[in-house]
Symmetry: C2
Subunit: 585 residues, 2 copies
C-alpha cells in the first residue's frame, strides 16, 4: 500500500522527450538544470510518500462532513496542508514575481502527478488554487494581483472555481447567478453554485472564490457571463482578514469517490464580489483557467493510474495461487507469473507511461508557446489538451479497473484500497468537461477551425519518428509498423471530419469521442516510441530500466495502438447506425 513517486520515469521523459535543452534555452528557465529538477522531485516525492499518501485511505474512510455551515475534513489533512505550505510546495509552478519558484511546466506537471498519486482528494485543493492563480494572472487587475496572488501562490489562501448551477452544467449559457453593482464599484453576487471543490474548509485562513455570474445588462447566453472574485473573508487594503462575506456552504455531496474532498453547494447571498477583467468576458477567462485545469485533470488520471499500478504490482508479486500454465513449476507461484496477470499489468503500465509521456510533451509545448511565443507549439499544446484530459482519464478508469481485477475477490473488498482508486478515478472523465465536451473542443476548435492543419502537422512529426524507428533495431521497426498504421487512421479520420462536418454535423460530432480516443492513443504511443529510441540510445545508463521502457513501448504498440483501427471504423462508418437510433419514449 505504500507509494513511491515514479521520479525515474518522469526524469527520463523530461530529459529525453521534453526537448529539455530548448526549454532551458528560454530565459525564464535558464537557471534550471536537470539534476536540480530531479532533486526537487525526489524530495517532493519523499514528502508525498511519507506525509500525504498515508492519509489517502483513512481520508476515504472518514470522508468530509458538513454541519451548520462548516465542513470537517478527515484527520490529518489540516496538519499536512500546513506542512506543505511551510515547505513551500504550493509555489513550485508559479511566477517568481508573486513568490513562486517558476518551474517549467514539464516539471510542474510532474509535481502535480506526484501529489495526486499520493492522495487525489487532498491534492484537489491545490489544483483549484492553481486554477485561481492562473485566472488572476490572466485577467486580474494590478490591485487584485497585489492583494491576492502572493497568498494564493504560497497556499496560505486557497481558491475555488464556481461555474456549475443545478440547471447549468456542461451548458453555461443557462447560468443564472446575478451580480448587481454596488456604489463602491464592487458587486453583490447572489445565486446557488454546486459541485464546488473545497468550497468550504478550514485548512487555510481564507478562500478566494472565482464565480461566474451575470450583470444586470448582460446579454443572454454565454456572451453575458462575467467573472468575479468573492473572498470568503473580506480582505482589507492592508491585506488583513476582515468580516465573513455573504457566501455560505449549505451542504456537501455524498459521492462515489474522492470522498475526502468536500464538494460543496454554495449559496451566495449578496456576497461582495469584484469584477475580474472586462464585463461579459468571463467565459473567455474561464477558458484560460479551464485549459490549465483540464490539463491538470488529465495529469490526475496519470496519477491514479500510477497508484493503481503500483498497488496491483505489489499484490501480484505477493499473492501465490495456481501452478504456471507452461508447467515450469509444480507448486503454486506468485500470480505475476500467470500470463493474463502479466497482460493486465503491462496494460496498466504502458497506459500509465504512455499518458505520462504525452502530458510531458504537451507541457513542453505549453512552455515554448508561453515563453517563446511559438505559435505552432501553442497550437500543438492546445490540440493536446483535450487528449491529455480525455484519453488519460478514460484510461485511468480502465487502469484502475484492471487493478481491481488483478486483486480478484480482494479487489472488491474495500480494505485493500484497489476499489478506492476505481471509485476515485470515475470522476476524472466527468469534471472540468466530460469526455464528450473535450471531444467537441477537439473536433470543433482544434481540428475543424484550422481545416485540420495542426492535426496534420502533428501527423508529420509522428511520421518523422517512424522514419527514425525504421532506421533502427528490430524492436524499433516492429513499433514503427504499428505507429504508421495508427497514424494513417488519424489522417483518414481528420480528412473525414473536415469533409463531413459542413454537411452533417451530427455525424462529425457523433464521431468526436472515438476521434479523441484514437488521437490520444496515437499520441501516447508515439511518445512511447520516442522513449524506445531514447532507451536504446542510452541503454548503458541503466539497462534494467531501459529494457522496461523498450518492453513497454512494444507492448503498447502491439496491444493498445491497434485499437485505433476500431475507432476509425466507428468514425468513418458509424454515422448511419447512429442516425437510425430509436429509443423507447
Amino acid at each position: 500500500m505504500s507509494f513511491r513517486a515514479p521520479v525515474q520515469d518522469i526524469a527520463f521523459n523530461i530529459q529525453h522527450l521534453s526537448g529539455w535543452s530548448d526549454l532551458t534555452a528560454l530565459p525564464a528557465y535558464a537557471d534550471f538544470d536537470l539534476d536540480d529538477v530531479q532533486a526537487i522531485l525526489e524530495e517532493f516525492g519523499k514528502f508525498c510518500s511519507e506525509e500525504i499518501a498515508p492519509l489517502n485511505k483513512p481520508g476515504d474512510e472518514a470522508g468530509s462532513h458538513y454541519a451548520n455551515g462548516k465542513v470537517t475534513l478527515p484527520d490529518g489533512f489540516d496538519t499536512a496542508y500546513a506542512k506543505c505550505v511551510e515547505m513551500g510546495w504550493p509555489s513550485l509552478p508559479h511566477p517568481a514575481e508573486f513568490g513562486g519558484q517558476g518551474l517549467p511546466r514539464v516539471v510542474g506537471a510532474a509535481a502535480t502527478e506526484i501529489l495526486n498519486a499520493a492522495n487525489m482528494s487532498f491534492a484537489l485543493c491545490q489544483l483549484l488554487t492553481d486554477g485561481a492563480v492562473e485566472a488572476l494572472l490572466t485577467a486580474g487587475s494590478e490591485q487584485q494581483k497585489a492583494t491576492y496572488l502572493e497568498k494564493l501562490v504560497s497556499g496560505e489562501w486557497t481558491g475555488t472555481m464556481n461555474l456549475t448551477e443545478p440547471q447549468a452544467g456542461s451548458d453555461l449559457a443557462l447560468l443564472r447567478t446575478q451580480a448587481k453593482p454596488n456604489d463602491d464599484g464592487s458587486y453583490a453576487i447572489s445565486g446557488t453554485k454546486i459541485f464546488i471543490t473545497y468550497g468550504e474548509h478550514d485548512m487555510a485562513e481564507n478562500t478566494i472564490h472565482l464565480v461566474l455570474a451575470r450583470l444586470p445588462d448582460a446579454p443572454a447566453g454565454v456572451k453575458g457571463i462575467s467573472l468575479f472574485l468573492v473572498p470568503k473573508f473580506m480582505v482589507g487594503s492592508d491585506g488583513a482578514i476582515g468580516a465573513r462575506n455573504g457566501v455560505r456552504c449549505v451542504s456537501v455531496e455524498h459521492k462515489l469517490g474522492i470522498k475526502a474532498s468536500p464538494t460543496a453547494v454554495l449559496e451566495f447571498n449578496e456576497a461582495t464580489g469584484y469584477l475580474i477583467g472586462e464585463a461579459h468576458a468571463g467565459l473567455q477567462y474561464m477558458f484560460t483557467m479551464m485549459n490549465a485545469a483540464r490539463f491538470a485533470v488529465g495529469v490526475q488520471g496519470i496519477a491514479i493510474s500510477e497508484r493503481a499500478y503500483q498497488q496491483a504490482l505489489g499484490y501480484a508479486q505477493d499473492r501465490v495461487q495456481s501452478r504456471p500454465v507452461d508447467g515450469s513449476a509444480r507448486e503454486a507461484v506468485p500470480i505475476i507469473q500467470h500470463p493474463d496477470v502479466r497482460r493486465l499489468l503491462m496494460r496498466m503500465k504502458s497506459l500509465t507511461e504512455g499518458t505520462r509521456a504525452m502530458a510531458c510533451q504537451a507541457a513542453a509545448w505549453q512552455d515554448l508557446g508561453h515563453h517563446q511565443g511559438d505559435k505552432r507549439a501553442s497550437a500543438l499544446s492546445e490540440f493536446l489538451t483535450p487528449l491529455v484530459k480525455g484519453y488519460s482519464t478514460e484510461m485511468a478508469v480502465d487502469v484502475a479497473s484492471c487493478g481491481v481485477q488483478i486483486h480478484g475477490g480482494m479487489g472488491f473488498i474495500e480494505e485493500t484500497g484497489a476499489a478506492q482508486h476505481y471509485r476515485d478515478a470515475r470522476i476524472l472523465p466527468i469534471y472540468e468537461g466530460t469526455t464528450a465536451i473535450q471531444a467537441n473542443d477537439l473536433v470543433g476548435r482544434k481540428t475543424l477551425r484550422d481545416g485540420g492543419e495542426t492535426a496534420l502537422a502533428l501527423a508529420t512529426q509522428i511520421a518523422e519518428t517512424e522514419a527514425a524507428l525504421n532506421a533502427g533495431s528490430g524492436e524499433a521497426r516492429a513499433v514503427a509498423a504499428r505507429l504508421t498504421a495508427a497514424r494513417q487512421t488519424f489522417e483518414t479520420a481528420v480528412t473525414y471530419l473536415t469533409e463531413t462536418a459542413p454537411k452533417d454535423p451530427n455525424a462529425a460530432y457523433g464521431a468526436g469521442v472515438p476521434f479523441l480516443m484514437l488521437a490520444g492513443n496515437l499520441v501516447a504511443g508515439w511518445q512511447l516510441a520516442r522513449a524506445l529510441l531514447a532507451a536504446e540510445a542510452n541503454r548503458d545508463q541503466d539497462p534494467h530500466f531501459m529494457a522496461q521502457k523498450i518492453a513497454t513501448a512494444r507492448f503498447y504498440a502491439d496491444h493498445i495502438l491497434p485499437e485505433t483501427q476500431t475507432q476509425l471504423t466507428r468514425i468513418t462508418d458509424g454515422a448511419d447506425s447512429l442516425a437510425m437510433a430509436v429509443f423507447d419514449a
Copy 2:
C-alpha cells in the same frame, strides 16, 4: 429510478431466437406455450418492479451488518423474501418432482435476469440456492434429495457455496478445510471459508451450506476435494429443524458494491456434514454447479446493464442542456438529442440486448442438451458458458460506466443511483471465476480439448446466418459484412490457438481473455443479426419495436463487432511483447 422488466425483448428472443418449437417438442416442456410464458414473466416483472426494485437503493445505503454472530439485512428484505416464497417464485426453474414449476431454461434465465435487474443484492440469495439445488440434483443421495430439495426449491430454506479460503481463491488445490469421519457416517467439518454469499441471515428458517473439504486420506491438490452438505440447523428424520450446527459467521466484508448482500466469513468447528456423492469427487460436482452459477452470473451482467440503461435513458430524456450541434433548435434540448449521448445509449442498449440474446441461445442449447441428450447442443452450450459469464460481465462494467457518464456530475453523486450500478457490476467479472479463469476454461477445455471442433461448428452456424443476411435487405447486408469479418477473426484465432498451445502455452493462455472477448462479441453480434432477420420478417407485429431491433443490430455491427479486429491482433501478434515484459522488483 423505477424499473420496468424488459419482457417484450425477452419474449422476442424466446419466440424468434431460442428455437422455441424445438424446445416445446421436448416432452419436459410440452405443456408450455408462449403466451403462458409471457404472462408468467409479465406477472413476475410486475412483482419485481413493485416489491423488489424499490429496496435496491435503500438496501445499498443501509448495507448488511454483523454483530455477535448475527447478520442484519436491510429493512424490507425479509418481508419481500417471504412474499417471494409465498408466491412460489423461487420454484420457477426447478423440477416438478420436488415442487418446482419446471420452466425451460430460456425462461428461467429470463426470470433470473428480471430479479437481478430489480435488485442484485437481494437476488443473490436465490442464485446461491439455485446452485445448491443443482448440486443436489446432480450428486445428492435419494435421502438427501428427499430431506432438503423441496425446502430449497420452495425457497423456505436457502443455500450457499463454500469454496474460497484465505489462501485458496482461484486455486482450489490449496484448500485446507478438513472433514473427519464421525461414527454415524457423518463428518466433522473444520476450517475457515471466506466470501460466502448469504452465508448468514435470518430470512429463511434454515441455510444449507455446500462445503468443499478434504477427507483425512485425501490426495493432495484438486483430486482430494470432497463435497459436503452442512445445515445451519440440524434437520431431523421428520424434516423438523433441530439444534444449531457448528458453523458460525464471524464477520461480513465491507465491499465496493452489492452492499446489501452479506458476504460472510464462516468458521466451521467440527460442524456435522454429510458427504455428497463420491469421496474426492467434489470438484467435479462443484463444476456442474459452477457452470450453472457462471451462466447465472453472466445473466446478472445483463440485468445490471438493463437497469443502468433504463436509468440513463430516463435521465437523458429529462435533462435539458445545450443547443443541438446541427442548429436544429435555438434553445437547450434534452441531452438525448446530442450525438455522443445517443452513441453512449446505443452502446448500452446494443450490448445489453446482444448479451441477452446470447444467453437465450446458450440456455436453449442447455435445454436441448439436458432433455434431448443432444451432444452437439451440450458442447455448444458449454462453449458459450465462459462467453456468457466473461463477456456479459465485462460489458456490464462498461455499460454501467457509460450510465454514470451520461449522468455527468450527477452520475458521481450517490443519490442518483447510477453509481450503485457501477459499484455493483464490478464484482461480476470476478466472482464464480475471474474473466481470466473463464478464458482458461474457454481455451483449454472448450477449444483445445476437441481440437477446435466445437468452435468451428459455431462458426459454421454463424456463416449460415451471414448467407441469410446477404439474401436480405440493405440493412441485413450491411450487418452481414461486419459479421463475416468478425467470424473470420474468430476462425483465425481458433487456428492460432490450436497451433500455438502445444509449443507455447504462455502465448496461448496469454491470448485467452482477448479470445474470450472476441468470441463473446461475435456470438452476441450474431444473435442480434438473427434478431434483425426476425424483426424484418415480423415488422408488422410492432413496427416501433422491430425498428429498434434493426437499429440495435446495425449499431452493434458497426460500432462493437469491429473490436474483434483489435482482439485478433492481440491474440496473434501479442505474445512477443508479453514475453518481453519486465517489472520492478
